[in-house]
C-alpha cells in the first residue's frame, strides 16, 4: 500500500488538491475544480477528490488525514489599529500579515466615530488593537478600546496586543460587552523591538476555532479532519522551509517568492536584508523580519486590474489594452496573441511594482562629512533565488519575463532589488502544499518541492 498524503487548498476561485506519495517522495496527482464555499464547500471538495481518485486509489482514511488550508470567503480579513503609523500601527500590520491575514484596514492615533463606522462596514474577521510600548502611552489604546466597545456586531473578535499597563482598564471596558476579547503580548514592547510570535499564535487560533466555522469552511470536516491554516500562511511556511532547509537537507538560502494573483500580489522574502554596500546606516525604525510578507491589495490580474492598467498606459497607450483589461476583469483568460502579450505586460508590472514596494530603499542625506546613505527596509541585492507562483505566473507563456520585474534597475538605484538572481517556477503550483506537508514531514516536503522547482 502506498503511503499517500492529500493536501488541499480551498481558494476563493478554485479548490485544489495535491496527492503525494510519501515513500517515493513524488507528486502523483493534482486536481483543480471551482470552489463551492458559498453553497456547500464539500461539493467542490468531493469533485476534486473524485478527480484524484480517477487516477489513483485513495481511501477514506487518507481523505481524513488530508491537510488543508483556506483563503476562501475573502480569506482572513483583519483591521489593525495602533498609535503611531511607523511604530505600533506598523508592528500590528506586520503581525497580521505574518499570520497570513489580509489587512483590510489600518488605523493610527485616536479613532473617531467616523472611523468606527468605517471599521463596522469593513466587517473584519479580527481586529488587532495595539498602541504604546509596555509602560509607555496608555491613553490612545484605552480610548480606542472604548471606541471599539461601542461598535456594532460586525466587530466581534478583538485581539489586544499593546501596552500591558493598560490591560486591566481595557478588560473593564469590555466587561459588560459580548465581544470576544483576547489579550496577548505587546507587538512592540520597546521602541523599535518587534514581538509578533505570540500575536501570530492567537490569530491562527481564532482562525481555526471561529473563523472557518463562521465562513462555512468547517463543513469540510465531514470529509477531512481539519483546516490547519490560512493559505498565505502555508505559502510563507513553504518559503521558510525552502530557504532554510531542514535537518541534514540544506535549503536554497535567501530567496524571494512572488505570488501574482487575481486580487493581490504577495511578495515573501526570506533574507536578513542587512546592508551589503559600504558605509550604509540602517534607519532606526522597526527591525525588518527575516521572513517578511507584503501584500499589494491594489495589484491583481482580475479584481484589481485598474491600478495595473493605469501603470501600463505609461508604457503602452493603445486602446486595445483597455479592452484586454476589461476581459480579464470579467474573469476571462487571454486567448489570442495580442491578449497574451498584454496579460504578460500587466503581470510583469504587478511583479515589478510589488517587489519595488517590498524591497528596501536607500536615502541619501548630507552630513558634515559629505553624503550619508540611510537604508530603510531590507537590502535584497544579493538574493540569488526568485521563485514565481500563482496562476498568472505558473500558467504564463513566459514566466521569466514576469519574474524579471524583480530585477535591480540601474535607473532606480535606490531600490534594493536582486542584482544577479536565478529565476525559478513553482511549475506544478504546489507551494501551499509544501507548506502544509512541511508541518508534519518537512524533509519529504522539501524533497518533493525540489523536483518541481524549474529554472526559467
Amino acid at each position: 500500500m502506498d503511503n499517500i498524503r492529500l493536501l488541499i487548498d480551498f481558494g476563493s476561485t478554485f479548490t485544489k488538491v495535491v496527492a503525494v506519495d510519501l515513500d517515493e517522495e513524488e507528486l502523483i496527482a493534482t486536481a483543480r475544480v471551482p470552489s463551492t464555499v458559498e453553497s456547500d464547500i464539500t461539493v467542490g471538495l468531493k469533485e476534486a477528490l473524485d478527480k484524484i481518485a480517477s487516477s489513483i486509489d485513495i481511501t477514506d482514511i487518507e481523505k481524513r488525514k488530508a491537510l488543508a488550508c483556506s483563503s476562501a470567503a475573502g480569506g482572513l480579513r483583519m483591521v489593525c489599529i495602533g498609535f503611531v503609523p511607523e511604530f505600533t500601527s506598523e508592528a500590528a500590520n506586520r503581525a497580521a500579515l505574518g499570520a497570513g491575514a489580509k489587512v483590510v484596514g489600518r488605523y493610527s492615533y485616536e479613532l473617531t466615530r467616523h472611523e468606527i463606522t468605517e471599521i463596522e462596514n469593513l466587517s473584519p474577521d479580527i481586529v488587532l488593537l495595539s498602541g504604546g510600548t509596555d509602560g509607555g502611552d496608555e491613553k490612545v489604546i484605552i480610548h480606542n478600546a472604548r471606541m471599539l466597545a461601542h461598535s456594532n456586531h460586525s466587530v466581534s473578535h478583538i485581539i489586544v496586543a499593546g501596552n500591558k499597563a493598560a490591560y486591566d482598564e481595557i478588560e473593564t471596558i469590555f466587561s459588560d460587552n459580548n465581544k470576544h476579547v483576547l489579550f496577548t503580548k505587546n507587538v512592540m514592547p520597546e521602541i523599535g523591538k518587534l514581538d509578533v510570535e505570540p500575536c501570530n499564535k492567537e490569530i491562527r487560533e481564532i482562525f481555526l476555532k471561529n473563523i472557518i466555522e463562521a465562513k462555512g469552511i468547517a463543513k469540510a470536516k465531514a470529509i477531512i479532519d481539519d483546516v490547519i491554516m490560512p493559505t498565505p500562511s502555508a505559502v510563507l511556511e513553504a518559503a521558510k522551509l525552502i530557504a532554510n532547509g531542514y535537518g541534514d537537507i540544506t535549503g536554497l538560502g535567501e530567496l524571494i517568492v512572488i505570488d501574482v494573483g487575481g486580487a493581490t500580489t504577495d511578495v515573501h522574502s526570506v533574507a536578513k536584508g542587512n546592508p551589503t554596500g559600504g558605509a550604509i546606516t540602517l534607519a532606526s525604525s522597526l527591525p525588518e523580519p527575516y521572513v517578511k510578507r507584503t501584500v499589494e491589495g491594489d495589484l491583481g490580474l482580475k479584481y484589481n486590474i485598474d491600478t495595473l492598467m493605469e501603470l501600463a498606459k505609461e508604457r503602452d497607450d493603445s486602446p486595445n489594452l483597455e479592452k484586454v483589461a476589461k476581459k480579464l476583469h470579467e474573469g476571462n483568460l487571454p486567448e489570442d496573441k495580442e491578449e497574451i502579450a498584454y496579460h504578460l505586460l500587466l503581470s510583469r508590472l504587478a511583479a515589478e511594482v510589488a517587489v519595488n514596494r517590498h524591497a528596501g530603499k536607500i536615502e541619501v542625506i548630507y552630513g558634515p562629512t559629505g553624503e550619508i546613505l540611510i537604508q530603510y527596509g531590507k537590502d535584497l541585492t544579493q538574493v540569488k533565488y526568485v521563485i514565481g507562483t500563482g496562476g498568472p505566473i505558473v500558467f504564463s507563456s513566459n514566466p521569466r519575463e514576469i519574474l524579471e520585474g524583480a530585477l535591480f534597475q540601474t535607473e532606480k538605484p535606490d531600490i534594493l532589488k536582486p542584482k544577479d538572481p536565478r529565476f525559478y517556477l513553482d511549475e506544478e503550483y504546489i507551494l501551499y502544499a509544501v507548506g502544509l506537508l512541511g508541518q508534519v514531514e518537512p524533509i519529504k516536503a522539501l524533497n518533493i518541492f525540489k523536483k518541481h522547482l524549474k529554472q526559467v
Partner: protein, 141 residues
Amino acid sequence: MKKAPTVVTGTVGMDAHVIGTKVLSRALKDAGFNVVALGMQVSPEEFIKVAQETSADAILMSSLYGMAEIDLRGFKEKYMEAGLSDVIFYIGGILGVGRHDFKEDEEKFKKLGFNRVYPPEADIDAAINDLKNDLKAKGKM
C-alpha cells in the same frame, strides 16, 4: 512644596562633545533640579527609557557634531509611543551643517518634537529660565 523636577541630560547619538552637557548639568543641579546626567553618546531610545524610569519632566539634549538631525529621525513618533508626550524636550548645539540660518534648524527640530531649540552660543541661565517657565505652565513646578 512640590518636589524638584527631574531633568535628563546628555549628548545624543555618537557625539562625544561632552563639555556642554556637563556644564549644563551642573547649572541645572545648582538651580535645584534633580538631574539625571547620562553624559556622552546617548541613543534616543536610551533617553526615552531613562525618562520613563525616572518619570522625568524634561529632556535636555546636546549635539555639536552636526548629525543630530540624523540621530533624531522619527524621535517624536518614538516618544509618543513611549507615553512621553507630556515631557518637555530641549536641544542645543551645532545642529545643522553648512547652514547659517539658525531659523532653519529651529524649524526642523521643532518638527522632530522639540519644544525649544538653542544655538551653540546660547546662555545657560536664560535656557534654565525658559525651562522653569515651561514647567510652571504645565503645573509641574
